[in-house]
């Protein structure tokens, strides 16, 4: 088997990939349920409120990925930035402040990697990733200490975050998405995208690469932090963290959605809707007694199919 580069890209490659991902999901569900009718029930969205909430969170984190990767910067610490964002939301008194605090704390959390990268050339993928673990332990400290809810007897849990309505959560995503789209139309947005072609190109354009490395990573961290804040405060119930449940996994879903969407803001929105659906399927399976982590496997297979779609878009497969 060989791959031959196509003269003209082949957009149907992505349709094939989507079909493949759907088929994989169906097959996995069938395997778990053994019956077609209950399989189809698992594939259905049962709770639109829940679905939209997940969509909003994944979408916001996906925008964090888009901002970073489109600039050629490798922030892969969205999970940690979302954790500290959620932590900030716990400490807030009203939902608006929670979002603002999440945004700012996420920004602050991404700042050390950004500074290290901009001034010392330290690889930001490593630093952002490792700070995720720091974020988790920091959150545990706060849950046991300053943010512990004494009213919850018998188990260690934090105080509750203020409640953010579903409309507000989806609204936050809309603001973020429109913001990123508008940003990309501006000169600063152009410089940010130029950065992906190398720091020299930014300098050639007359701008400072240092500034745009800082801007790209800080904004990416801020959006992930906002995503974390939206996630915890838009829950219907249980808007608190426990020692065991700090990380939610939405950081990784967001990163996946950013890449599945081809790093375009609109594409990432569409991919987020898809990832949110896979998440819903995972939850439905959990009801049947399967581990909810199946959702991770489904998102992973979607990523693999997305990659296959990209290969088919650019290459022809020759079986010889």
């Amino acid at each position: 088997m060989r791959l031959v580069q196509r003269r003209e890209p082949y957009p149907l490659g992505y349709a094939v990939a989507l079909a493949g991902s759907l088929a994989t999901t169906l097959a996995a569900v069938l395997l778990a349920t053994n019956r077609l009718d209950s399989a189809l029930a698992v594939l259905a969205v049962t709770d639109w409120g829940f679905y939209l909430r997940v969509f909003a969170v994944v979408g916001i984190v996906a925008m964090s990925g888009v901002v970073s990767y489109r600039a050629g910067l490798w922030n892969i610490g969205q999970e940690g930035q979302a954790v500290v964002g959620a932590l900030a939301a716990l400490a807030s008194t009203d939902p608006l402040k929670a979002l603002l605090a999440g945004f700012l704390i996420g920004l602050a959390w991404a700042l050390p990697p950004a500074l290290l990268r901009a001034f010392l050339g330290v690889n930001e993928a490593v630093t952002t990733f490792l700070l995720t673990f720091v974020a988790v332990y920091t959150a545990r400290y706060f849950i046991e200490g300053p943010l512990r809810d004494p009213a919850k007897r018998g188990f260690v849990a934090s105080v509750e975050a203020p409640h953010l309505g579903l409309a507000a959560a989806v609204g936050a995503l809309a603001v973020v998405a429109i913001g990123v789209l508008v940003l990309y139309k501006t000169r600063r947005g152009l410089y940010l995208r130029l950065l992906a072609s190398g720091e020299e190109v930014v300098r050639y354009a007359g701008a400072s690469p240092t500034v745009y490395i800082l801007l790209g990573l800080a904004l990416s961290g801020a959006l992930a932090g906002l995503g974390g804040a939206v996630e915890i405060s838009s829950r219907e119930a249980g808007r608190y963290m426990t020692l065991q449940q700090v990380s939610t996994g939405f950081g990784l879903y967001g990163i996946s959605a950013a890449w599945l969407g081809g790093l375009s803001p609109l594409g990432a929105l569409a991919a987020s809707a898809y990832v949110a659906w896979l998440y819903q399927v995972g939850v439905n399976l959990k009801v049947l007694g399967l581990p909810a982590l199946v959702a991770n496997a489904l998102v992973g297979s979607a990523m693999a199919w997305g990659l296959a779609g990209y290969v088919l878009y650019k290459y022809r497969v020759v079986w010889r």
Binding site: R193, A196, S197, Y204, G206
Partner: protein, 463 residues
Amino acid sequence: MPFLRAVGIRKFFPGVVALDGVDFEVERGEVHALLGENGAGKSTLVSIIYGVYLPDGGEIYIEGKRVEITSPRRAAQMGISLISQHFALVETLTVEENLKLAGVEVKRALEMADMLGVELPLDKYVAELTVGERQRVEIVKALAKESVLFLMDEPTALLSPRESKALLSTAKRLAELGKAVVLVTHKIREAVEVADRITVLRRGVRVGVFKKPFDEGELLEAMFGKVIQRSVYKSAAGGEVIYRAEGLTGERVRDMSIELRRGELVAVLGVAGNGQEELMELLAGFKRPQRGRIVLDGVDMTGRPFAEFLRRGVVYLPEDRGRALARDLSVIDNFKMRCFKDCVKKLEEFRELLDIDIPSLSTRVSALSGGNQQKLLLARELLLRDPYIVVASYPTRGLDLETSEKFYAIVRKVVKGAAVVSLEDVEEAVEKADRIYVLSRGRVVASFTPPYDVDQIAEAMAS
């Protein structure tokens, strides 16, 4: 019978005839120099003999037998080895480990080294070796693998004078051992010193094969052609000095001073790798000099950010277009790097003017051909902006003749101040420039004004 004989070799690259029916042969026991200036086709010929390129015409014979050298691996099987500037050695391994990796017995390698009269630092890591030492390891490796033909492509380019001497005597020694050696060089002295025969190439054509005793004057003329006295530009040369660089020093560039007068087009000539690119970066303000001063219109610009140079109308056209164009972004996004309004309209206008072949404005720049990328760059930097000082690194490399003529026409027409271009082609410089600086080893070694004497210029370049 010659070990290798190439007959009527032809090679075309898009828009260029790199080799036009070249004959070449090399015998066992001789050092045969392949002499010519940059772009004469030496490297192309060597690449064909080593199987990197397939020729578009002609035949190659090894010991009288017609062969097709389809790959470097094939070449190696036929006893051909290439000692190039890029080494096939693993830097993080020792010399001994590298030899083993190449399937060479250490004992045999030591014997070969002994025969050649060179030392083999077995325990040293390749990363610690000088360029000359690496070359010696390569040569010993090739020798141990029973190579007969040693192709050396500009082997002294990166060597210190002492190492160069050592390398040249190694080449001689190889010939004494009955090997065939091809020494590719642009340095006449070097060729004269070691070669038994010299083949001179100029613009893809073999000018002649010379035997001992060599006449340097004759070789120079063969390399560069007759003295050309072309019409001199009646530009405003003699205008006031608007740009002055004094004692610029960078990593390779040493203490360089250059002046530009209003209306001038100045060429910086030199064999590649003598610091031209860095000089252009320094002149354009893209890189900060370690020492020296840049004065533009009486204002000291030394060490100011590149954005400041841009504001004063400095245009920098780097050798590597990837520094000036974001290859992953669309044509229009790249244009907007400098364009602030009516960008689509302006781009359409320039597209017509320069005949740029763009499928659509949202096409990625990486999908355009090199020539079209260059045209896009020229449109953006020269036509869109109001250029005052143009600093261009090999601006016509890779362009067809028509487009490169267009480049000079545009520069003459739109540049309000002056232009400085680095070139590698003497004739191009003589034809286009009001003044020529010759660069060697990071220094200006000579400057010329019309009427030019090509011999003198060539000699200065080869020094």
